[in-house]
Each structure stands twice: as structure tokens, then as C-alpha cells.
């Protein structure tokens, strides 16, 4: 089983729920936020090991949130995976410019997202062995 704390940020509640389930089954401890402001607060207070961050959100969008996380000493070292419906190269470029560590496009495969998270955190996958 993997271990670690993941912050999942998305304004679509069902996406948050399913990631909570998938990552939970993998052994991760999952905390969630529904917008950018909440995400920054939780990142500071709960010190997650990794953040999955949606780009298109009301109030503070994923780009801005990522920039702020990377500008803050308390959170700058937490790896960020951007999650968005946009899939064009220009978005990826912007994603890395704001300091994101990886990028995955919607609709996405939860299985692949878990693999990426495991890779970044140096874990090996366990859950899929059951299937």
C-alpha cells in the first residue's frame, strides 16, 4: 500500500469524490478542496505530499493557485499535478511555467493518474493487482 497525503482540488464534486475513492483504495490519505482559495489554505495547514489541481475553477483558477503555492515557502516544494479539460500545447506550456510538476487532461483515466502520483512520490502501485 502506498502512503502519503494527497490534496484533490476540483469544483466538480463528483470528480473530487471519485479521486477520493481511487486514491483512498491505493492507500493514500485524501483531503479535498472545491476552489483555489480553499486549496491554498489546506495546503498550508495540512501539508499534503502532493496536490491534484483542476485548472478551470471559479474565483481563483488552477494557474493562479499554482503560482501562489509555488511562491509560498511553506508550500513551494509540494508537487502539483494540473488537471484540466484543456489539452492544447499552449496550456501545457503555461502549466509548466506556473511551476506545475505534471499535467493530465480531462477526461482522464484515474488509473493513469494514480500511476503518475506513484511515480512522483516514488511509490509502487498495489491496487490494480487485484483487478
Amino acid at each position: 500500500m502506498a502512503s502519503g497525503k494527497i490534496l484533490v482540488v476540483d469544483d466538480e464534486i463528483y470528480i473530487v469524490h471519485i479521486l477520493d475513492f481511487s486514491l483512498g483504495m491505493e492507500g493514500y490519505d485524501v483531503i479535498t478542496a472545491l476552489d483555489g482559495e480553499q486549496a491554498i489554505e489546506k495546503a498550508r495547514n495540512e501539508k499534503p505530499d502532493l496536490i491534484v489541481l483542476d485548472i478551470m475553477m471559479p474565483k481563483l483558477d488552477g494557474y493562479e493557485t499554482c503560482k501562489m503555492l509555488k511562491a509560498d515557502d511553506a508550500t513551494r516544494d509540494i508537487p502539483v499535478i494540473l488537471l484540466s479539460a484543456k489539452g492544447r500545447n499552449v496550456d501545457q506550456k503555461v502549466g509548466f511555467e506556473v511551476g506545475a510538476d505534471d499535467y493530465i487532461t480531462k477526461p482522464f483515466s484515474p488509473r493513469k493518474l494514480v500511476e503518475r502520483i506513484n511515480a512522483i512520490l516514488g511509490q509502487t502501485s498495489s491496487q490494480r493487482m487485484q483487478a
Binding site: E12, I13, Y14, I15, H17, I18, L19, F21, S22, M25, M56, P58, A85, K86, K106, P107, F108, S109, P110, R111, Q127, R128, Q130, A131
Partner: protein, 771 residues
């Protein structure tokens, strides 16, 4: 106008003495009002200099729209918002009685919509322009107070002075409106294009959201088939729900695209909106009961509206559904409907969280989402209000939202009846009153039938008395269903062209989704063109063309040609108005129209293929669509002057005699002269110059290079190509390659090299497409 002497009207009102201080203030205010031009300053003067003297007070200006008779509330900046007067309130009283009302102690209706607090006392005064009532000034004071005869007089004087200021500001605005109208049209066209591509990317994003959930849940479900702890039923429910959301989204996007102004003709019926309102409320009952929300309907005096029942039902379902969903438990939703002037006004009020002021202007945009009720996470598609706006605008109305102390209020105003504007009716009356113009319209139908090679042509005009459209002239229409002889504005294809002025081409009336359910059995073939006839900026009617005699479908070239022909007729009618000797002008235009008809029937005017090629070439050379259409039209008629000798030229063998050569050389001038009654500008010039040569060796004026109008340079190439490839009695036709080679040899001598190359590119592309 001297600023010192008040006008007679003002002087009469000012007959009794008042306190000298009040008099001074009032005189100052009246003088200042006389020299202001804008409503904002006028309001400011009235409040600061007069009301302050009475110990404060608030006032509101309500004005009657001259066109519709509906009420508009003016704010201090001069901006207007539609206003629904309260039944039995002071505004209604003043408009009915046409005199002032002074209430020392407000006890009954006080037009609550105007004030934030109930006033203690109020004065309401009519505003007149000449003898015509055009509005109402209402002044409210916080506490009950008396109005002495002097004070009443003083307030009347202020109302009179304000009337003058408003009348002046109206005149100025009418002028400014005219100035900006042109620019607006151009900007709108650009915005529409942008909006359409923007919609695609927004829709793509919105579709990906449910798709993402479906994908994620499905995959997780598959991976957890052996996992006893996975809430599989919940996963399946979410997938099911997201599939529904996707379906709703697709349906709404389709609906919205159909609702874009001018794309969907209305199916109009006359019905009682209150009955429909009750029906929709009943339909909402389960939802409302579940939330313990009470929905009430308040209806003004009985009225019927002319509208598309299905669309209005959809509109009410959207607005009411929103109101109920956003209502707190045990909240109430109020629906009001009333006929005012020639408008239907409806309001839906709820007691929900309301709309933040910064969201108000944007909530009708597609996919714009403000705060959502907590338990409605996935229900809305973000298109409900955009669809509502589409429905209202398609009926020629407006929709807006207002904040309330608690909750939101959605208001809409639309015409009670779908009729042509008074301006269009006035122009129509002037046209129908003149026998020569009526005969010009008959000639137009014949010309259109000949030029478009059409079986059925009808010209529908605005009926000046009834305001709908009727068939004023037609060909091939005999024995057709008489119900097609009249239509309401915005109803059906012709009605929607008459409302929006956008030409319509339908190639397959049975499958085109704009016209599903509108098909009439009389359309024995499927092609249909409909274009507006504009005179003095008003849409006076439409010209409809169906069924080409060849049985072919109509295309964009046909539509452009028809629109241009009909524009010419509109121009001729307009000139008939302006010209001092208009009887002769009209007769000349009619003669030109008859000549075009005759020559076309005899096969002596431009071949159909040249018309399409001329337009394609103009486009290829980067000319705007409107100019390209005009060039296609010139291609169709430019040989008007050749008529007398054309027949002979195409049948004789051997060289021309001197007389024939002379006639041939004359034909550009003869043609330009003949077309002049329909066209004074570019078109005449092009006809006159289509035998000029690039090197200056042409006739009649020996122009060279860019002195020759571009249209004429295009026609020269098109004519030569057409003539070479179709052959003549004395020589066999060239192949396309031979013709191109010949044109290239003459490029820079007879022809504009740029045009020849454009033709080459065009043919190469077409060859590529077909081969």
C-alpha cells in the same frame, strides 16, 4: 431662444405669488433647465435646486415610449429601464387623468417599484410635449405633508420646464441614434462570427465535464469489480446522472443554436398567456411542493398575445423552474403578467439568494454561472437563461433581471402582436398608394422570375392597415393555398426575413432543421430563397423564390443575385420618393425592369455560369461579400445594351460590317444608359467600362489599368473565358486549358494580369476538387 422670458405656457402657470425665496430658486431652476441638453443635468438641477428647498424628497421620471406605449423608468444618468406601473398607483392615475395628483398622506398604491421606502406623501405630475402626454414625474417625501396651492403651482412649473429639457434631449438622441446605427450593424456582424467560434470552444469544455465524470467512474467501476467495498450502485447512479446531464446539454445547445435571431421562424398563435402560466405552474407543482414553495400568479386585465406557444411555455418553465429551485423552503414565487401599450410584460420574483449586482449584466450569457443552490450541483446546463433570452428576442422583446431586497426578479417585455413597425407601415402605405410603384412591383416579380429561372415568385409587402405581410404581386402562385398569401412578421420563412432582414436560402426544406414542422405541401420542390425589400431603412416586405424551372437546387450565387436585384428595386422606390419628377423616374425604372425581363427570357443576357464565376473571382481577389454579389449582378445584366445586335452577332459568320461594328462599340454606353434608372453608381460605371483594355486600347473611354473599375476588369476576363469555352457558330469551343493559355497571352494587354491569375487559381482548385 432668449433665456430671460419664460414661454407662454410657463408664464401662465406662474400666476400667483409664492415666497420670494422659493420664487428665486424656481426661476433659477427653470432657466437652467431651459439650457440643458441631457437628462442627467436636468434631474440634477431639479433635485438640488428645488427639492432641497422643500426639505428633500426623491423624484422619478417615467416616460411613455412613443412607439409601443410602454413605460420606461429613467434613472439619473438618463438610462432607461422598462417599468410596469402598479394598478391603481399614481403613475397610472396621472396617465389616465392627464393631470397632476397631490397626496398629502399616502394611503393606497404608491408604485412601490419606484421607491426603496414607502413614501409619506407624494406628488405626481404629467409631462407634456405640446399637447401630447409623454411621461410622468413623481416626487415622494418621507413624511406626510401638505401641498399649498403655490407649491402645487411651483411643482407644475418645474414639470413643464423638465418636459422641455426632455424633449430637447429626445431630439438630440434621435440624431445620435441615426449616426451610430450604421456602425452598430457592422460591429454586430463581426461579433456574431466571433461568438459562433467562441461557442464551439465553450461547448467543447462543457461537454468534457460530464464526460470526465463518466470516464472516471466507469474505469474505477471496472477496476473495483472484485472489491466488495466499492459503492458500485452509487457509481452507476452517478454515471447515469452524468449521461442525462450530457443529453440535456446537447439538447440545449441545439435549441440555442436554433434560437439565434433569424434562424428559427416562429409558429405564431394567439393565446391567453395567463392560461399558459397556470398550466406551467401546475406542471411545477411537484417541485414546488417538495420545497414547500408557494407559486402565485397575478394577471392584469384579460389579454391575448401573439407568440410561439411552445417557446413561451419553455420560457416560463425556465424562469419559474429557476425561481422555485433558488427559493428557500416555504418561500414564495410571484408571477405577474400584464398588457401595457402594445407590449406584454411578465415578471417572475423569488425570495432566493438573489443575484450579485456584478453578475446582473452577464447572467443571460451562455454557460455563465453565478452561485448555485447547494443541491443543484449538476442539474443546470448553464444554458437556461441564454435560451430564455433567445426566445424573448426572437419575439422582438427584451429580458432583464433586477435585484430585490430579498431575491431576484426576472422581467420581460415583448410585443403583444407580431406586426411590422409603424415606420414600415407608413412606407408601405406610400408605396401602395401609387399606381406606378405598384406596377413597378409587378414588373419586379416578372424580372426576378426571369433572372432566377424560377417557377414561383412572390413579393410580400407589409399591410399598412393590418401590419402583417400579404402577397402584393406574384407569379406561378395561382391556385396555391390562400393561407400562404398572408403571414405575420416573424412567422415562417418570409416572416422571419421580414423581421430580421437576413436573406435565407433553404436547399432542402424537408431536412433543414430551421424549417422542420413548417413545411407546406405546396412546396413541390425543396429550394427556397427569401430576401428583404428595404426602403428608407425599413423592411417593406420580402421577395420569395421557389422551384427553379430547371429543377436544380438554389445556391449562394442565386441568393446573392436575388438580394442584389431586390436591393435595386428598393433603391428605385427610394429615389421615386426623393426625385422631384418621380413619375418619370418610376416609369424609367419599370422600363429597365421590363427590358431586363424580356432580354433574359430571349436568352440574350449573361449566362448563369458567368454570374457564378464573376462572384467567385471577386471573392478570390479579396473583395467583400456585398461587392462580390454586386459584381455577380452586373455580370447578369451588363449586356443590356447589346440586345439589338446580339442576336445577329451570334448567328452570322465572317467579319462585321461597319454599321455592326459601330453598334457593337456603342453597346457599353447604351447599356449604362439603360441601367441608370436602377443604378447610378458603380454598376453603371462597370457596365460602361467592360470593354476597356488593360493597355488602354479599349472603348468607349480608352481607360487603362487601375482607371478601369475592378468589376469591369473581372467581367472582361469572365466574358472572354465564357465566349471561348462555349464557342460561336463560326468556331468550335476552346478547352479550358486552351482558354487559359489564351487569357494568359493577353494578360497585361487586354486583361488585368491579377484577374487572369485569380481565374487560373480558381479553376485549378475546382479541377483539383473534381479530379
Amino acid at each position: 431662444m432668449s433665456p430671460i422670458n419664460p414661454t407662454g405656457a410657463l408664464a401662465r402657470s406662474w400666476s400667483a405669488p409664492v415666497g420670494s425665496e422659493a420664487l428665486a430658486l424656481l426661476a433659477e431652476a427653470v432657466l437652467a433647465l431651459r439650457s440643458t441638453r441631457d437628462v442627467a443635468t436636468a434631474c440634477d438641477i431639479a433635485t438640488s435646486r428645488v427639492l432641497d428647498h422643500w426639505g428633500g424628497g426623491e423624484f422619478r421620471l417615467v416616460r411613455i415610449d412613443a412607439r409601443s406605449g410602454a413605460l420606461r423608468l429613467l434613472d439619473q444618468s438618463g438610462a432607461e429601464a422598462p417599468y410596469l406601473s402598479e394598478i391603481g398607483g399614481p403613475v397610472e392615475w396621472v396617465i389616465r387623468e392627464q393631470r397632476g395628483l397631490f397626496e398629502e398622506q399616502v394611503q393606497r398604491s404608491y408604485d412601490a417599484g419606484l421607491w426603496s421606502e414607502p413614501p409619506g406623501s407624494l406628488a405626481a405630475l404629467p409631462l407634456f410635449s405640446g399637447t401630447e402626454l409623454f411621461g410622468c414625474l413623481v416626487i415622494a417625501f418621507a413624511a406626510p405633508r401638505g401641498f399649498s396651492p403655490d407649491e402645487q403651482r411651483a411643482l407644475r412649473v418645474m414639470a413643464d420646464a423638465l418636459s422641455l429639457a426632455l424633449a430637447r434631449s429626445d431630439a438630440r438622441r434621435a440624431f445620435d441614434d441615426e449616426q451610430t446605427r450604421r456602425g452598430d450593424v457592422e460591429r454586430r456582424l463581426a461579433t456574431e462570427e466571433e461568438a459562433s467560434s467562441n461557442l464551439m470552444s465553450v461547448v467543447a469544455h462543457e461537454i468534457r465535464t460530464p464526460l470526465t465524470a463518466i470516464k472516471a467512474y466507469t474505469e474505477t467501476l471496472i477496476d473495483s469489480l472484485t472489491n466488495p467495498h466499492a459503492p458500485r450502485e452509487r457509481f452507476l447512479n452517478i454515471i447515469d446522472q452524468e449521461c442525462d446531464r450530457l443529453s440535456r446539454l446537447v439538447a440545449d445547445v441545439l435549441d440555442l443554436s436554433r434560437l439565434e435571431a433569424g434562424r428559427r421562424p416562429l409558429r405564431l398563435a394567439r393565446f391567453d398567456p395567463a392560461a399558459l402560466g397556470r398550466e406551467v405552474i401546475d406542471q411545477m407543482e411537484p417541485l414546488a411542493q417538495a420545497r414547500h414553495v408557494v407559486v402565485s400568479l397575478e394577471v392584469g386585465p384579460d389579454h391575448v398575445i401573439e407568440a410561439d406557444t411552445d417557446l413561451i411555455r419553455r420560457l416560463l418553465v425556465n424562469l419559474l423552474g429557476n425561481a422555485v429551485k433558488f427559493s428557500p423552503a416555504k418561500g414564495s414565487v410571484r408571477v405577474r403578467m400584464i398588457a401595457q401599450g402594445d407590449e406584454w410584460l411578465a415578471e417572475v420574483e423569488d425570495e432566493g439568494p438573489g443575484i450579485p449586482p456584478q453578475d446582473l449584466p452577464r447572467i443571460f450569457e451562455r454557460f455563465y454561472r453565478g452561485a448555485r443552490p447547494d443541491d443543484q450541483e449538476t442539474e443546470g446546463t448553464g444554458l437556461g437563461l441564454a435560451i430564455s433570452r433567445g426566445i424573448v428576442e426572437l419575439h422582438g422583446g427584451r429580458i432583464w433581471a433586477e435585484p430585490r431586497a430579498q431575491g431576484a426578479r426576472f422581467c420581460l417585455a415583448m410585443p403583444l402582436r407580431q406586426l411590422a413597425s409603424p415606420q414600415a407601415r407608413r412606407v408601405a402605405r406610400n408605396v401602395l398608394d401609387r399606381r406606378d410603384l405598384r406596377s413597378l412591383l409587378d414588373g419586379t416579380v416578372e424580372m426576378v422570375a426571369a433572372m432566377m429561372d424560377a417557377e414561383i415568385v412572390s413579393l410580400m409587402l407589409v399591410d399598412p392597415d393590418r401590419g402583417d405581410l400579404f402577397v402584393a404581386a406574384s407569379r406561378g402562385f395561382e391556385g396555391k393555398n390562400t393561407s400562404l398569401r398572408r403571414t405575420l412578421v416573424r412567422s415562417g420563412v418570409a416572416g422571419s426575413v421580414a423581421a430580421w432582414g437576413r436573406p435565407v436560402l433553404v436547399n432542402n426544406i424537408e431536412t433543414d432543421r430551421r424549417f422542420q414542422r413548417l413545411n407546406h405541401p405546396q412546396y413541390s420542390t425543396k429550394s427556397l430563397l427569401s430576401v428583404p425589400l428595404r426602403v428608407e431603412g425599413e423592411i417593406l416586405g420580402v421577395v420569395n423564390v421557389n422551384n427553379k424551372t430547371s429543377g436544380q437546387e438554389c445556391d449562394e450565387d442565386d441568393l446573392a443575385l436575388l438580394a442584389t436585384l431586390v436591393e435595386r428595386v428598393g433603391g428605385a422606390i427610394e429615389r421615386a420618393y426623393a426625385h422631384p419628377d418621380s413619375g418619370r423616374t418610376v416609369e424609367e425604372a419599370s422600363e429597365t425592369i421590363r427590358r431586363i425581363t424580356r432580354l433574359k427570357r430571349e436568352g440574350l443576357l449573361g449566362a448563369r455560369s458567368s454570374v457564378g464565376m464573376a462572384r467567385a473571382l471577386a471573392r478570390e481577389l479579396g473583395m467583400p461579400a456585398a461587392e462580390s454579389a454586386q459584381i455577380a449582378y452586373v455580370a447578369a445584366i451588363h449586356d443590356l445594351g447589346m440586345s439589338s445586335i446580339h442576336q445577329r452577332l451570334t448567328t452570322i459568320l465572317g467579319p462585321l460590317g461597319p454599321d455592326e461594328r459601330h453598334t457593337l462599340m456603342q453597346h457599353p454606353e447604351a447599356g449604362a444608359e439603360m441601367i441608370r434608372p436602377l443604378d447610378q453608381g458603380t454598376v453603371c460605371d462597370v457596365v460602361l467600362s467592360h470593354h476597356e483594355r488593360w493597355d488602354g486600347g479599349g472603348y468607349p473611354r480608352g481607360l487603362r489599368e487601375s482607371e478601369i473599375p475592378i468589376g469591369a476588369r473581372i467581367l472582361a476576363v469572365v466574358d472572354a473565358f465564357e465566349s471561348m469555352t462555349s464557342g460561336r457558330p463560326h468556331r468550335p469551343p476552346y478547352t479550358v486549358d486552351e482558354a487559359i493559355a489564351e487569357l494568359r497571352r493577353e494578360a497585361g494587354a487586354q486583361f488585368d494580369p491579377a484577374v487572369v491569375e485569380a481565374l487560373f487559381r480558381l479553376l485549378e482548385r475546382e479541377g483539383g476538387r473534381h479530379g
